[in-house]
Symmetry: C2
Subunit: 311 residues, 2 copies
Amino acid sequence: MTKKDLTDCSARIKPYIHRTPVLTSTLLNEISKASIYFKCENFQRMGAFKMRGAANAILQLSKEQQSKGVVTHSSGNFAQALSLAAKSLGVKAYIVMPSTAPEVKKEAVRGYGGEIIECIPTLEEREKAAEVIQKEKGAFFLHPSNDLDVILGQGTAALELLEDLPDLEYIFTPIGGGGLVSGTALATHYFGNDCKIIGGEPFEVDDAYRSLQSGAIETNTTANTIADGLKTQLGDINFPIIQKHVSEIIRVEEQEIISTMKLIWERMKIIIEPSSAVAFAALLREKQRFENKKIGIILSGGNVDLAKLPF
Amino acid sequence: MTKKDLTDCSARIKPYIHRTPVLTSTLLNEISKASIYFKCENFQRMGAFKMRGAANAILQLSKEQQSKGVVTHSSGNFAQALSLAAKSLGVKAYIVMPSTAPEVKKEAVRGYGGEIIECIPTLEEREKAAEVIQKEKGAFFLHPSNDLDVILGQGTAALELLEDLPDLEYIFTPIGGGGLVSGTALATHYFGNDCKIIGGEPFEVDDAYRSLQSGAIETNTTANTIADGLKTQLGDINFPIIQKHVSEIIRVEEQEIISTMKLIWERMKIIIEPSSAVAFAALLREKQRFENKKIGIILSGGNVDLAKLPF
């Protein structure tokens, strides 16, 4: 992927996304002893950066492909993002969701115009259901994170951040499936000024951390994390980008995720989801190493069930 | 008070406050069928507009007065605001609080450097304790809302909003003690372009509504509202300004306050306190009257106890 791929992508999706604000907090700067710039993708359309990748991926399809619709399997933000991006573009979206997915998430997908296909909650059944839709409807399958067009779209958040602040020394993002961190890494490779990328990952689902260590894609056997957006498996398209362009991954405990989330809610008065807190939690965990640095943090999303808060 | 009083006040307090952002939401515009501009005082220093009035009131004291400190009785945002404004100016702040005030609020005041004097939780005892401090320490008493310098300070939020959006047709604020609404009304009188001021008030504490009806200051016999910032009694300095410059007061039910607060949290991903939701709740209650209008809403603050949410 080239520099031009990123600027083209950014121009392409512009009508379908918000250019999100960058916020600062004197108090959080004091706590971290650094200058922190929060890129607020929690204010993105449908509440998360996933809108960027979903819009780009659909826009890269031919008119013929678009006419038959798109399909994904997701119970998280990508399900909503693909539904809303598809709706904005007049494209049909089929969303395979486990029957056990919370009703609030199903409602959100329906609200954005997505058609839900329920399946038994195993990865095999999800993939099988998505394949059926591809065959029956001719719909194009889009993966939530392991897809070059999705990755490019996610990278536009960092592109905007670096347009605003070209001299950032570090950018932190959470790592789940790897779409955001690898898009961020590519954008920073082309548009940053010797800026390093650091990923935050929960100890509970540290497949990316272990993959970087071993040099091969590792899997998670459990997923006991509150950061529900980060349970996704690292992909084979993301992984080489991460190997090449991500400096390091810092892992965080569940309690650190919760306390960082609460800190941002209470002090910045903005709502972020647990996954979003992981990047700043990673910085706080090793803050002495980042004193006086100029740091971007991508707050990835703000979709939380207010009835089920961890505090 | 003159136009110049307001511009002077705005210049005076500028180093001690944030110029807060104005946010919009496509979805909330769709729901209200109007163009809504939210002035985010929840992002103000210490989390509420009260910082503005507190800073102005202290700055208007003589050096001699400042050297002896300031005193107020409040268990709410003004206690924190006076503490932080005083600290920023090197002035001592004595805060009389009822012994029953939540520990989280006492901690916040202490965190901002205020010295707490606890008293029996009745208005008489609060006033008595404040008088003792005035006599013993020579501290200057500042009322949270019924004070011209405080009112002027609170008016600077609307002044900024009208600088950004000179052609607003309405500005809605919540009404508690009346400091914010009367400051807003004065600023809008001088800087608005035929812009009307509407207050939102809970039915449970509708002293301002009833006072406008009767022409005399009415009191609340109960205060069973979730909007804890709006329980304060309307004052004799605010009331004439409200009579002259506020077009109307719309009352809202408790359930409307809660659902509006939730709507703003979920859709705008920002944290506002219940009192802040009252202004937008008032608009939503009578939204058919405001279709296609250009409306400013002052989101007054964002200090909530996350452990005690109403949803």
